[in-house]
Symmetry: C2
Subunit: 336 residues, 2 copies
């Protein structure tokens, strides 16, 4: 790889169902010089996250959807290579939403400085970044758990779920994780301190919840939707809360998936179901980031990264993410 | 009819799917004398309401479910015939949850006096009773509309929906009703002052909402569930609220009905969906009753009753209610 050419992954075509490598295309371009007020940045880590599948879909969305030929959406940890702004100097480490590419020219006002004292720079797009903020606010601001509450989190070993469960423990909850392999289940219980875990591929989630959450589920942090959610909805406690964070089980569906109509359950238990986005809490992100960093330093919050080496591997890693193949926060290491 | 025998409608057998007359049986019994602290009451009006279908179902419920042979659940407006309590005297008009029967002996502490100054006594189980309270609290305490909000209410001409829409107008909302006949649609617009109405049997609800609620639906008061709700979910506004009051379209289903999984829509719009029961707000019922009575006197709230004469007609009327055949609050007139 020479540093004289920029490479970017674009959406070559809109996937129908599960994305395939053919839906992505590598595009090369020259790297221009930054103008006044701009910086040239070089990607070190690219964050891969489930929400990106939504950007590839047409139809209503909370964000601009991709058109064929557009660079894939994404946030990176990057180094300032050249600066034409007094805000940054060459060598500064920042994060920026430049998408899946190796270099970009951006206005200095749009990038965010990374504080290396808080943790390794890769965590700025992980536990100290969007996934960590999502966990913190979805749990503490949407679900508002009380000590003693039973909290269920789906995709429990993922970048968001692992943080949700651990903050749930800090908050005095009984925490049950749902994940798709015995290895992930063992990890959240033995490494992260969850009270129990359910492997949704080998166990009956609803029946197991009857046993291990006999008083019902007070809080459900939902990353997946689908049959796992159906099972949790059968076990809600009175005045329970459900936070809809993601629905990864549905993202690859070509046709709208069908499931049981279970709204009547919400009447019986007077449950509140709420969709949220991490950006709704942006004013409070810095406070949350500081708290999470502190909990990590105290050893109360752990995290795991699944780092794939090489920019060229981004599409394959992303396709795996949608199938639960990653174990921990998925990152592409693009450069040293 | 002699007054020497009590008649009660019991659930003869648990319905599978739509109830039929065979699921009900008329049981006769003697009328005992009230003992100390008790009153003998005689039913004047029996209220028929969709929730009763839930009592006929087995499985988890917020209330005790009926077993075959039990008297059908229900609230009545009744007259005290004999009193062995200082709380009531013969001739007093009260309401009581004695179920579908003509007479009952009840503890005087369990009955509620009806204030005839508030309105005709039949309204004590209608707009001034459970349905009116349901509308008031589901709208004002759960949905919390702001002036200017677009409010959609399903089963718009029903005992609850008609009150929801009119209080929505008092609250400064743009109100859209969804109902199943042109007559009902015309009634809610021309008589009750709704801004518009959609006949879900002849119109495409989602497409019509795009036209008449171009900024989306801020508040959805859901009495029906099913495809009507699917259409509203496609048109939710940012930070919208959905109150799940009833799901009458689902109550007769023998198997759990299937529908599109639409939780992802809640993320995009940051919507809150909440199930509630009127009894959760019992401490505030008297305040609400006074306000509703005042609005009726001011001509700002109208109501319509669908009164079926004769206790023997209760099962047929109830079966019709579940199919939307009533027009207004359904009551059985049992005695003068």
């Amino acid at each position: 790889m020479t540093n004289e050419t920029n490479r970017a992954w674009t959406m070559a075509s809109r996937p129908v169902g599960e994305p395939t490598p053919k839906n992505f295309a590598l595009k090369e371009s020259d790297i221009p010089e930054p103008k006044h007020g701009e910086v040239l940045i070089k990607t070190l880590y690219l964050s891969l996250d489930p929400y990106m599948r939504g950007r590839m879909r047409s139809g209503p969305s909370y964000a601009t959807v991709l058109e064929p030929g557009d660079v894939m959406t994404g946030e990176v940890v990057a180094r300032v290579q050249k600066s034409e702004s007094p805000l940054y100097k060459a060598g500064d480490i920042i994060r920026s939403s430049i998408g899946w590419q190796e270099y970009a020219i951006v206005s200095a006002h749009t990038v965010k400085r990374i504080d290396p004292d808080l943790g390794p720079i890769s965590t700025a797009v992980g536990i100290l970044g969007m996934p960590g903020m999502t966990a913190y606010f979805g749990l503490l601001a949407v679900l508002k758990p009380r000590a003693g509450d039973t909290l269920v989190v789906s995709a429990a070993s993922g970048a968001v779920g692992a943080v949700v469960g651990q903050i749930g423990k800090i908050n005095g909850c009984k925490v049950i994780g749902v994940a798709g392999t015995d290895e992930k289940c063992s990890y959240v219980v033995n490494e992260l301190g969850f009270d129990s875990a359910i492997n949704y591929k080998t166990e009956n989630v609803s029946q197991k919840l009857v046993q291990i959450a006999p008083n019902g589920v007070d809080c459900y942090f939902d990353n997946v939707g689908g049959p796992v959610s159906d099972a949790v909805f059968e076990n809600l406690a009175l005045k329970s809360r459900v936070a809809i964070c993601g629905q990864i089980s549905q993202y690859n569906a070509a046709e709208p998936p069908q499931g049981p109509r279970n709204m009547a359950a919400l009447i019986r238990t007077r449950t509140t179901v709420e969709g949220f986005l991490v950006y709704d809490f942006e004013l409070q992100h810095e406070v949350a980031r500081g708290r999470i960093a502190e909990w990590i330093k105290q050893g109360r919050l752990k995290y795991m990264e699944d780092v794939v080496d090489g920019f060229e591997n981004a599409p394959e890693a992303f396709i795996g993410l949608l199938n639960g193949k990653n174990f921990g926060k998925l990152l592409i290491k693009v450069a040293e």
